[in-house]
Symmetry: C2
Subunit: 723 residues, 2 copies
């Protein structure tokens, strides 16, 4: 019944007024009133429904991100959205939420129209109450008992309910819309009204006039005069049919669940904002595959990649390195386009990160060849061999994780580097770059696929369309096995928050400490502090907090450190204990847990090595922490007790790095506690599988009275060629 | 102003009617109307507020789980909950949700009372609209433009707004409560009403009468007659003060955020259901530490455990094993209590899992001694050594993960086993057992702590109170590093869903396949199928789908398999292709992705090994998959290409097990793709850290023109003593 109005309302709009009638939001109802279905079915025999509507005037949107441009929005509410689960009474919370959202959109200058139901449910509730009251239950009310709830409810006739409910329902809508200074109007229709050409034209004119006057039309079926409904269960099918019908008229449709308590408060506005809520129907096919299809391609491409010989994977990477230098001009041309478009919109440091150059491409190619070299012994390495019984041998071997999603910002040089890491480790890859580097990323991805195609695995690396939202990608847990964000720690934090059930590898914070012990050597301290803090203060492995043993205050060593920091123009923040020791203290820290990422340093005083360790555990981020001392026992105590990914003795925090650790290709630095921790090489992109080769071995032979016994002999492991 | 009513309404209730007045729900307001604060401040000087109310009649609840027993509930709405962010107009969606929730609770037989605000906001909206209309903006409405929204809004006087808004607000509440057949009543009060003893008594009488008649009193401040308000920002403080005041009267209070769109639809009902929403205030201190304190104790206890010598950790486990046999009588006595309480409430198989016996305790002790043995070489093992430069040596060593949360169902024997695994790996442990095993778990935990105390690390293993909800625990991501569910695959799935940002180790499904190739040996197939399917069909590593090469249909081998399955009384489900080959097929499968966990088996036909692999990738759960063939090439192709944790050749699926693999102590079987995969030994409870020992090394010495070069020499690793 409702779908009927919703459909017919559109036809004339398309012919007369569009192209700005574009988006229709339809709530999926778990429980459409049976009357709806009957009419939908009979309509399919009525000519004017099946005739495609004029497409010349309107064209539906190709992608959700365009929905925010929708000018006219029809919200059709299924009965299950409007009524409560017990089918008696309205779901007031949801209904009011919907009115609130419709009002927000209307007050943004859009033209909103509501197609509703619920009069029967509302009336049922009303009538039940009246009947009960007339059964003189007033005494029950006065007895303080809740007999009202326990009484049998008489079976009420639907049309009577509708009649009783209609006025109250509209009064309720009216009252609610008044809250937002919005005027609403009631339109009641029946199926027959659409069969009459004149009536249809009148209805159309009325709707137009209302919309023009900034009034929200509320369309409902005139349930009090229609024939009783038949039950039917194929509800989803009806909605889909209705959506397809609307599409023919050039209208985009989203069908979403309007009853889920977590979303019902913002489902309509979410849809208009382009979020992936419900199912989006459009007659315009978006260019290229969907991200789900890309995930499938990356999965199967990755599996093929994993079965290649290590030399073949290295060949692909070498070929990509060649292409980066051979196709230099084309790459730089695409990059120039990005730079031109970004000019004036991006700050200078961001433009610098966006720009490519011949020398950047050359060093990128060199990096790729290093990755190719370290890839030779990654996939298929045997980690463990056990003879379980005679002729029953177990092997644990390294295999790729599966499909990686790498999300990176501005820097397009990230793309070939990450692609090479995925290829080296035999993983499928989804790449999500920033919009600002779209041209550069496109050509670099094409070259990657060209390199991959020499061994027939072109589809293993996929570039995700810039329109896809990162949050939507982070929810594809059936498709993606590991997410690696490459960029600012803010990006990493955002992704960690957005990822639903998919592990994220990356460090979100690097709050590194250096503890200067009472036994520290004067010569070393200044060198180590300068290198840790000043060499590259923006790095995550730069020093943020210097912990000084109490006994060192007012010693030459202490003065030397402060002098050096002054010369290097490092701004000092005093921890509370440090400040209490000084007459004139520098500004006190706001928080001892701060990553400055700049020429700023927090200094705090500690009583001893245990106090330093406690401070690090309380305020650190388990990234990299250092002790400076000449006392080996104190150093070993610190190394054993500090619970961080990297713990150093008399060395700069800045050594915390995959290349400096000699891991070959660096995937990143992880502050996670499982899988990989600290600087991560290619191994971080691998998992293992167990291969068992038997003759006809069954476990029942190994039972207490069985014929066989477990041997569990360790077998020699083929020598590992590190690097 | 609102807090005032909410407070004063309670005093007489306590004196006359309680003990059933117990729970108060207070919404935290981001923006309490300034008038409220003024009054709260002046009250603190009024004697009757500071005098503790009679506690003999009522006592507040000690724990949230008791809130469901609350008989009378006062919902106080902060202004920010009632009004929209722009302070103009009501937040209709939220308001209606609240009415809906209050109605649900009222109709459960509770006595609900609403303390509201919002008259000013409502009136502001109304008056603005009227003023604009009187400025003859009707022409603007008719021009089709949205000039209405852009017009300057005159500053409206708050009392006038209140007067205009009060009637409309009540009409709205009335209309909404009518939906649920609930009668509401209006009570308007001012501060002065409470100073007058007679008025207070009258008010009290009225409220009681209303509640007795099943009517919901809606209390609001008579804003039209009160003095104008002063601004104030210490809102949280006011709410907390109000809560403390209510506590003095023996009333439990929860202050929660009522504006978050994700929760506002069910925040009140959630609170009454005992969920951890907002802050719970109670005068009754719960016995024992909070779960947050337990997390801290497990963390620091775990760190101490990790620094013990491996022999000391083994000693603790041996001592625990001794206690299990020495204290057998006490354990069995506690277990008997659990069994008695569960009698009639639990099904026979569950009772069996719950019950302990001397022989169970003995084999538990044997298992513990095995764990002790395998613990010797777990923590602190060197995995990699690299000479980065002269006197600069890097070491990667195994360390514990941190704090584990292990959630287990009924079986109390899980507790000592899991505790031993945590102790062996140096991890802190939070244990969450089922309510039905409370007595058994308590004594087993006491014995564990007794064992731990021989090396002063008693607190490393904590038993979480049975009242704590699993979902709440799964959100403590700052406290817990890894969750291990031990129980049904439903439990694992639930936990995986509930865990927010904490990795979960466990397999949720074991859909294992066996592919019988055309080159399979007749003798082996029947043996392997029987062992895989029939030996223990409830296990996750039992066979679920048998894939048969097309050429084997209608061969003696095929008939043998079917005969064996008949003898073993295995119910056969036919895959669609298999069904199409048969004249009289068994029942067709509902889904090819089914874990039967019983004597049921799906049979499907495949064309070749590639087809089998595709089927496994599409319908499997990457647990364990087997090929049966005499052709080594086909077998190796299968082993390389099947992307599962365990891939076997001519061996039963049932070998997929930590003990059978020779991993020593088994932690579980993981179907995750990162960290640990397949059967997991103690290694799965370990991570690594990097130790770097230098003299005074800084990275700037290694720069292009620096004095040093990276050596990256692999150094010999101390021989690993596997088991």
């Amino acid at each position: 019944m409702l779908s009927q109005v919703y459909r017919c309302g559109f036809q004339p709009f398309n012919q007369h007024l569009l192209p700005w009638v574009k988006c229709t939001t339809v709530f999926r109802s778990h429980c459409i009133q049976p009357s709806v279905i009957r009419h939908v079915r009979s309509w399919s025999n009525i000519p004017f429904i099946t005739v495609p509507l004029s497409r010349t005037h309107g064209k539906s949107f190709a992608h959700r991100s365009e929905l925010k441009h929708a000018k006219r929005i029809v919200v059709k509410l299924g009965s299950a959205v409007v009524t409560r689960g017990d089918e008696c009474g309205l779901a007031l919370g949801r209904l009011a939420s919907i009115v609130e959202q419709v009002s927000v959109l209307q007050n943004q200058g859009r033209e909103m129209m509501l197609v509703t139901s619920g009069a029967v449910a509302f009336g049922k509730q009303r009538l039940r109450h009246e009947i009960l009251l007339s059964q003189s239950v007033r005494q029950a009310l006065h007895s303080g008992q809740n007999q009202l709830k326990e009484m049998a409810i008489p079976v009420l006739e639907a049309r009577a309910c509708a009649a009783a409910g209609q006025s109250g329902l509209m009064a309720l809508y009216e009252a609610m819309f008044t809250q937002y200074s919005i005027c609403a109007a009631q339109i009641l229709v029946t199926n027959l009204d659409f069969h009459d050409e004149q009536k249809r034209r009148n209805l159309n004119g009325t709707l137009h006039e209302l919309l023009r006057m900034n009034i929200v039309p509320i369309v409902n079926t005139n349930d009090a005069v229609v024939p009783p409904a038949e039950p039917n269960s194929d509800l989803q099918g009806v909605n889909v049919k209705a959506a397809l019908w609307a599409l023919q008229g050039g209208t985009s449709v989203v069908i979403a669940n309007g009853t889920h308590p977590k979303v019902s408060g913002h489902v309509i506005t979410d849809i208009v904002e382009g979020k992936k809520v419900g199912t989006f129907f459009s007659e315009v096919k978006p260019a290229g595959p969907t991200v789900e299809q890309q995930g499938e391609m990356a999965r199967s491409g990755g599996r093929m990649l994993a079965t290649l010989e290590p030399e073949q994977r290295a060949e692909i990477i070498h070929h990509l390195a060649d292409l980066l230098t051979d196709q230099r001009d084309e790459i730089l041309l695409a990059n120039k386009k990005d730079l031109e478009e970004a000019e004036g919109r991006l700050a200078a440091p961001l433009l610098k990160r966006l720009s490519l150059s011949t020398s950047k491409l050359n060093s990128l190619a060199i990096g790729l060849r290093q990755i190719a070299a370290s890839s030779q012994d990654s996939v298929g390495r045997v980690l463990r061999r056990t003879r379980i019984a005679k002729n029953l041998e177990l092997e644990q071997v390294t295999v790729p994780i599966g499909v990686l999603l790498v999300i990176f910002e501005s820097r397009p040089d990230c793309l070939p580097q990450v692609a090479a890491l995925a290829i080296a480790s035999g993983n499928g890859l989804l790449l999500k770059g920033g919009k600002e580097a779209a041209h550069s990323n496109r050509i670099l991805h094409l070259l990657t696929q060209e390199a991959l195609s020499i061994h027939g695995v072109k589809e293993a690396v996929q570039l995700v369309n810039t329109r896809e939202e990162v949050e939507d990608l982070c929810r594809l847990d059936k498709m993606i096995d590991l997410i690696i964000p490459r960029g600012s720690s803010q990006l990493v934090r955002d992704i960690q928050k957005a990822a639903k059930g998919i592990p994220v590898m990356g460090h979100s914070e690097g709050i590194c400490h250096m503890y200067v012990d009472s036994e520290a050597s004067v010569d070393k301290v200044t060198r180590l502090v300068r290198d840790s803090k000043c060499e590259y203060p923006a790095a995550c492995n730069a020093l943020e907090t210097l912990l000084i043993h109490r006994d060192l205050l007012r010693t030459p060593l202490f003065d030397q450190i402060i002098d050096m920091l002054r010369v290097e123009q490092v701004k000092i923040h005093a921890g509370p204990k440090f400040a209490s020791y000084l007459t004139f203290s520098p500004s006190e820290v706001k928080s001892l847990r701060t990553e400055y990422g700049d020429l700023e340093l927090c200094i705090e005083v500690v009583d001893n090595v245990q106090d330093a360790i406690d401070h690090i555990h309380k305020y650190g981020s388990s990234h990299t922490d250092v002790i400076v001392t000449e006392d080996e026992n104190t150093a070993e105590f610190f190394l054993q007790h500090v619970d961080s990914a990297c713990v150093f003795w008399n060395a700069s925090t800045r050594f915390s790095d995959g290349y400096r650790f000699g891991l070959g290709a660096e995937v990143g630095i992880s502050t996670s506690r499982i899988h990989a921790r600290g600087p991560v090489g290619l191994e971080g992109l691998l998992t293992t599988k167990w291969l068992l080769r038997g003759k006809d071995h069954v476990v029942s032979d190994f039972s207490e009275h069985g014929s066989l016994k477990y041997l569990h002999e360790n077998l020699p492991i083929p020598q590992r060629n590190t690097n």
